[in-house]
Amino acid sequence: MTTTTPGPVAFDLSEDQQSIREAVDDAMKRFDLDHWRTVDKTGEFPSAFFDFAAKQGWLGVAMPTEYGGSGLGISEAAVMMEAIARGGGQTAASAVHMNVFGTNVVVKHGSEQLKRDNLPEVIAGRMKVAFGVSEPDSGLDTTSLKTRAVRKGGDWVINGRKVWISTAQHAHKILLLCRTSDPGPGENKAKGLSLFFTDLDRSRIDVREIEKTGRAAVDSNELFIDDLVVPDSHLVGVEGRGFHQLLDGLNPERVLVAAEAVGIGRAALRLAVDYAKQRVVFGRPIGQNQGVQFPLADVYARLESAWLMVLRGAALYDAGRDCGAEANIAKYLAGEYGHKSADQAMQTLGGMGYSKEYHVERLWRESKLARIAPVSPELILCYLAERKLGLPRSY
């Protein structure tokens, strides 16, 4: 007979993390799936939830205390985002996602002035932030972007286009990645890119919403930037080092997107399991069929594995260690399995899964997003093959 010792085991959530999960789970009862179905139908930005999250201090979970944040890490943010997504799906998560991590680059690399001016506002929810990286001709091939910032007097003048910019309909600020100088012959294309954290000035930036398959309430947009004047003080960190600095945004983003995908997967799995228990066909609950229960058990196992990778990626980031591979693996596994879970839930619910009334339909549309953005699974496999396995570059 084995004796069990009380006390934490590796991979247990910390006390902070546990209380965050409990608090969010409890709060999401007020913003349940029915609430989010209505939000999805109206397509209006979920301000009530955003304001609630701000009031609870959720937006600043991973921000330094001196600017009003909680001073916790991406690990805690991941626990929080998983719970938000599990309670309300991608729409709920995306409503706050940018404010939670979008200014992390500013925290790490921005000037004191930039931090003091903006972080308290972002944390309090008075300022919304958009992330301006992707361009029409350079989605995954980021460093080939065309948007340019040119010095003019003491300012910068920016021209170009951005695409798939979330929440730009509502954002006050935008983090823009622009080319400020061309790399020399043989130099890495990442050189000469710079980051600006600046006003989303609608007199200079035309914001056009893109209609899309899921997450209608959290807008995605194409941006046309025409002679946007940006003061030099809005440059983040070092000129020409924008791409490297951006990794402090991209890696947390991947970890959080992965956490959200796990949350959506778990939400869908719970709906599927509940339905499989109560739906009686041929004289017994359909969940008694191996053809129904095995795929659900399989999804459960996969989501658990993805979640461990999320925690690992977040822990590495918080410890200041390289987490590129782990953040990518987490995003890859969670994106694939989150959608697989939603798909299996749809299959389990049958016609009811296809109807909009049982929520699975929305989760299915939304869960595909994490398989496309912010980086495709294909490109993650390229990355792992090259960086972790030492295989030659294939593209």
């Binding site: 209609e211 398959t213 066909v281 749809m346 049958g350 016609g351 339909e361 496309i372």
Partner: protein, 386 residues
């Protein structure tokens, strides 16, 4: 064994493709799907003018003639652009044309089929109930009783596509004798405007502008003559309809594969990344190779099931297998297609998301993949597992 289509069938396929390219290119189909309509009447009328509602109806009943094989060619070519909107043609073809041909009296055929062929009558199918679609015989609660020369029908139906605009809903109901005993099931054509019918449209993932309904029948009175087939033996017409449905659906799924393949190829040839068009990337080539292989397999099993049925041979297993194989492939292909188009695939401005949403239904309806497998396993002599 000859796998070649006849010259007639080739010409037929070419003419349907020409029609759909001219009248319903993908951009237009996408607009129709996204419109707030409950029933795209213009599409129905255009299909009528083209004579497509009469395909599979023998000339003696005012149709264009042809077999289920001819219908399958039509269904595939239309679906390539229309996607799931094909249900506007398919549901009446199954619930009207094929059911009537299998089970109706000569008188009924002469009365109804010519009008069906002209597009004057819209048929919807009222089989599935809230208690179940796959377990229909157990789930069936709707009752019909003959009282003073009229059927009195009470019950509830689910997922009746087009019921809101249907002239007739083909309703399956228990045959209840006046003394309360039950004797088999009846298939009855219920006029869509009958007093006592209530409808509620079910919001759903795909084919948004062609609504599916929950239908309540409260003591609806229908003339005795609207019964299809013998009293208590409505099963025959329904089963004939359902096997045809699986076969035609396999053709539709092949049409989805056609659309996904050509849209994927076009995008890969146009889109540049890392200094060249993305068609150069091996994994994307492999995705496309898979989709092309799936389409090829789908075409073969779909043609085979249609050919068996057109030849009057038994095809229950083959129709089920064709439905299972082609719909699973269509969904996988649309998913990969969306993956290749990335953000553009997710945007409402391309057709991939429409194929992806629409095809997904067919792994669920009219029979789930899981129940298809159960059926196939039983056909192999294995014990019933459910």
């Amino acid at each position: 064994m000859d796998f070649e289509l006849s010259e007639d069938d080739k010409a037929w396929r070419a003419s349907v493709r020409e029609w759909v390219e001219k009248n319903y290119p993908k951009d237009r189909a996408r607009e129709v799907e996204a419109s707030g309509d409950e029933f795209p009447r213009q599409l129905w009328d255009d299909l009528a003018r083209a004579g497509f509602h009469g395909v599979g109806i023998p000339e003696q009943y005012g149709g264009q003639g042809g077999t289920i094989f001819t219908q399958a060619i039509l269904a595939r070519e239309l679906t390539r652009n229309l996607g799931g909107l094909i249900a506007i043609w398919l549901a009446p073809a199954v619930g009207g044309t094929l059911t009537l041909l299998a089970a109706a009296s000569e008188e009924q055929k002469h009365e109804l089929l010519p009008r069906m062929a002209l597009g004057e009558l819209v048929f919807a199918i009222g089989i599935t109930e809230p208690g179940g679609g796959t377990d229909i015989l157990n789930a069936l609660r709707t009752r019909s009783t003959l009282v003073d020369g009229q059927w009195r029908i009470t019950g509830q139906k689910m997922w009746s596509t087009g019921a809101g605009s249907a002239d007739y809903i083909a309703v399956l109901a228990r045959n209840v004798l006046p003394d309360g005993t039950e004797q088999g099931v009846n298939l009855i054509l219920v006029p869509g405007d009958s007093p006592g019918i209530q409808l509620r449209s079910i919001p759903k993932l795909g084919v948004r502008s062609l609504c599916s309904y929950e239908v309540w029948l409260d003591d609806v009175a229908v003339p005795e003559a609207n019964l299809v087939g013998p009293v208590g033996r409505g099963w025959k017409g329904m089963v004939a309809g359902l096997n045809s449905d699986k076969t035609l659906l396999s053709a539709c799924a092949t049409g989805i594969l056609d659309g996904v393949l050509e849209d994927s190829l076009r995008y890969l040839r146009e889109r540049e990344a890392f200094g060249r068009t993305i068609e150069h990337f091996q994994v994307l080539q492999h995705y496309v190779a898979d989709i092309a292989s799936w389409r090829h397999a789908s075409e073969l099993v779909s043609y085979h099931a249609a050919w068996l049925m057109a030849s009057g041979k038994p095809a229950a297993s083959e129709a089920t297998m064709a439905k299972l194989i082609t719909t699973e492939y269509a969904v996988k292909a649309a998913d990969l297609g969306l993956q290749m188009l990335g953000g553009m695939g997710y945007s409402a401005e391309t057709d991939m998301q429409r194929y992806w949403r629409d095809a997904r239904l067919w792994r669920i309806a009219p029979i789930t993949s899981e129940m298809s497998r159960n059926f196939i396993a039983e056909q192999l002599g294995m014990p019933r597992s459910f």
